[in-house]
């Protein structure tokens, strides 16, 4: 057992846990912060993503001791941080995920949102390829990813004060072209280019 002094979402917390506990275990089972999800518990899925000094890391592969003296941000901290800046409502990334229907079961969402938050903090105008690369370590078994990428683009547009592009389900034609371009699927009967 070791005493742990952690700074989580701006709060200084004192707790204790065995040396071999991960940050994820301490968050969920000592501090009751269950927003960070325990998916695979071995680095594959990204559901446990938190920010450590602003960088996205996997809480399941971070020893809790290593997080001491560093700022941890979990999904629970995004809205309060937004409020501390004097703004109302949810963090714009959370809001965009909501508006774009970028979830089904929601299990991947805290990790997705934190990865997206870290990307936008570093790069306010990412390309679609950069968004996909930044979220590559966050797996979603439900949505098919389209709405998730759109949600990040939506948040980018809102932050830039421009009109967000129509979302896939609003324009079925545009969606088909998009999918063709990505080369993942082709309408049946159409020859390969």
């Amino acid at each position: 057992m070791a005493a742990l002094n952690l700074t989580i979402n701006g709060d200084r917390l004192e707790t204790a846990a065995p040396d071999h506990w991960t940050l994820l275990e301490v968050l969920r089972y000592r501090l009751g912060l269950t927003g960070s999800k325990q998916g695979c518990d071995k680095g594959d899925c990204g559901a446990c993503t938190v920010l450590l000094d602003g960088q996205p890391v996997l809480a399941c592969l971070t020893l809790a001791g290593l997080a001491q003296g560093r700022a941890v941000t979990t999904i629970e901290g995004l809205m309060p941080a937004h409020a501390r800046e004097g703004k109302s409502g949810a963090d714009p990334v959370q809001d965009a995920f909501d508006r774009c229907g970028a979830l089904q079961c929601g299990f991947c969402q805290p990790g997705m949102i934190l990865s997206a938050r870290a990307l936008l903090n570093a790069n306010a105008h990412p390309t679609r390829a950069q968004i996909r690369a930044a979220l590559a370590g966050n797996l979603c078994r439900c949505t098919g990813y389209t709405q998730i990428v759109e949600a990040v683009e939506y948040a980018v547009a809102v932050a830039a004060g421009v009109e967000p592009a129509p979302r896939a389900w609003e324009t079925p034609r545009a969606r088909l072209t998009d999918i063709e371009e990505q080369g993942t699927r082709r309408p049946s009967g159409q020859a390969r280019p």
Partner: protein, 336 residues
């Protein structure tokens, strides 16, 4: 995970003093170094590693630095993160292959903490090795289960008695660049070509992928500038993986070419994910010099690089894949 004691030294001397100097593998296994933990923690969760003491290298001052020397060469500290290496402006400009290899490892989350030393010393991904229940040769058993079992991801070159492929993406890039590795113990320091650091299973130490001795750790990598010559060096890392988002390589190639008016004046090729060590293709390098990149050159380079390959039952595809990769990479770099 089994519980352990956790030491966070702030000096190299303190960390080295904690390492056992015994040659007995059991004794050595009692203490493990941790940097990013992106490999070690997965091993500990599967009970493949069960140390009593874990020594964290992240608090050692200065061990994470990248230094650019006056001659343009690099000195990279063992705990430098892959994200820092990928983004370093001098590395991007003069050692593109290294930046690109670092950027190809795992996901954003993994690269933000994973270290250079940990990447080079990570353990194999062979699924028989990673399964706690299976006592293969790598774990001191008598049999290689991949040899007669499912071996789609295993070695086509240099295998036997274990047929792992070395999983590191940095290793081929650093070997192609002619890097040297500095190892230190409490009593001595050794510098050796990185190429010689990695060892084949047939060289005696089947349970280990490198020459790390008792009490030793990796402290830094020295990467010389590519030799000046007519034309300009271009380099890149080419990695084929089953899944686009993030994955270990099915085959990879670190390539640097010195091209002058369409003619190759210098070449460095090192293959990844095809052998238990990063596979330097020096014969292919030699025969490319003086040629233009055409069908013949690509064919000959592929043949030379894969000379002696002996695929297993399920990994014959790696031959075509690697040949294709070499050809594509040569054309792409020569015309860029």
């Amino acid at each position: 995970m089994k519980s352990f004691e956790y030491l966070q030294p702030t000096t190299l001397e303190e960390a080295l003093a904690a390492l056992p100097t015994s040659r007995d593998p059991k004794e050595r296994e009692r203490v493990r170094l941790i940097a990013g933990g992106q490999d070690l923690l997965t091993e500990m969760k599967e009970h493949l590693a069960e140390p009593d003491l874990v020594v964290d290298l992240k608090r050692i001052e200065g061990l994470d630095k990248i230094r650019v020397q006056s001659d343009g060469s690099l000195v990279i500290g063992a705990t430098c993160t892959l994200a820092a290496l990928e983004e370093h402006a001098h590395v991007r400009e003069h050692f593109a292959v290294l930046s690109r290899a670092a950027g190809s490892v795992g996901s954003t989350q993994i690269r933000s903490v994973a270290s250079v030393g940990g990447n080079l010393c990570q353990r194999p991904r062979c699924w028989y090795y990673r399964s706690e229940q299976i006592p293969c040769i790598k774990k001191g058993g008598a049999e290689c289960f991949a040899y007669s079992g499912l071996n789609k991801y295993n070695a086509i070159l240099g295998g036997g008695p274990s047929y792992i492929v070395h999983p590191s993406d940095l290793a081929p890039a650093l070997v192609a660049l002619g890097a040297e590795i500095t190892l230190r113990s409490a009593t001595q320091q050794r510098i050796l070509p990185l190429e010689r650091f990695f060892t084949l299973p047939s060289e005696g130490r089947v349970q280990q992928e490198n020459d790390l001795g008792p009490g030793e750790m990796v402290v830094e990598l020295k990467v010389p500038s590519l030799p000046a010559g007519a034309g300009t060096w271009r380099s890149d890392y080419f990695k084929v993986r089953e899944r686009g988002s993030y994955d270990f390589a099915l085959a990879a190639l670190a390539l640097a070419l010195l091209v002058d008016d369409g003619t190759i004046r210098g070449a460095r090729l090192c293959l990844g994910a095809v052998a238990p060590i990063p596979w330097r293709a020096d014969k292919a390098e030699a025969l490319l010099v003086g040629r233009k990149v055409d069908d013949e050159a690509c064919r000959l380079a592929g043949e030379a690089a894969l000379a002696g390959a002996r695929p297993l039952e399920h990994n014959g595809y790696k031959l075509d894949l690697t040949r294709g990769l070499i050809s594509k990479a040569l054309r792409q770099l020569a015309s860029s």
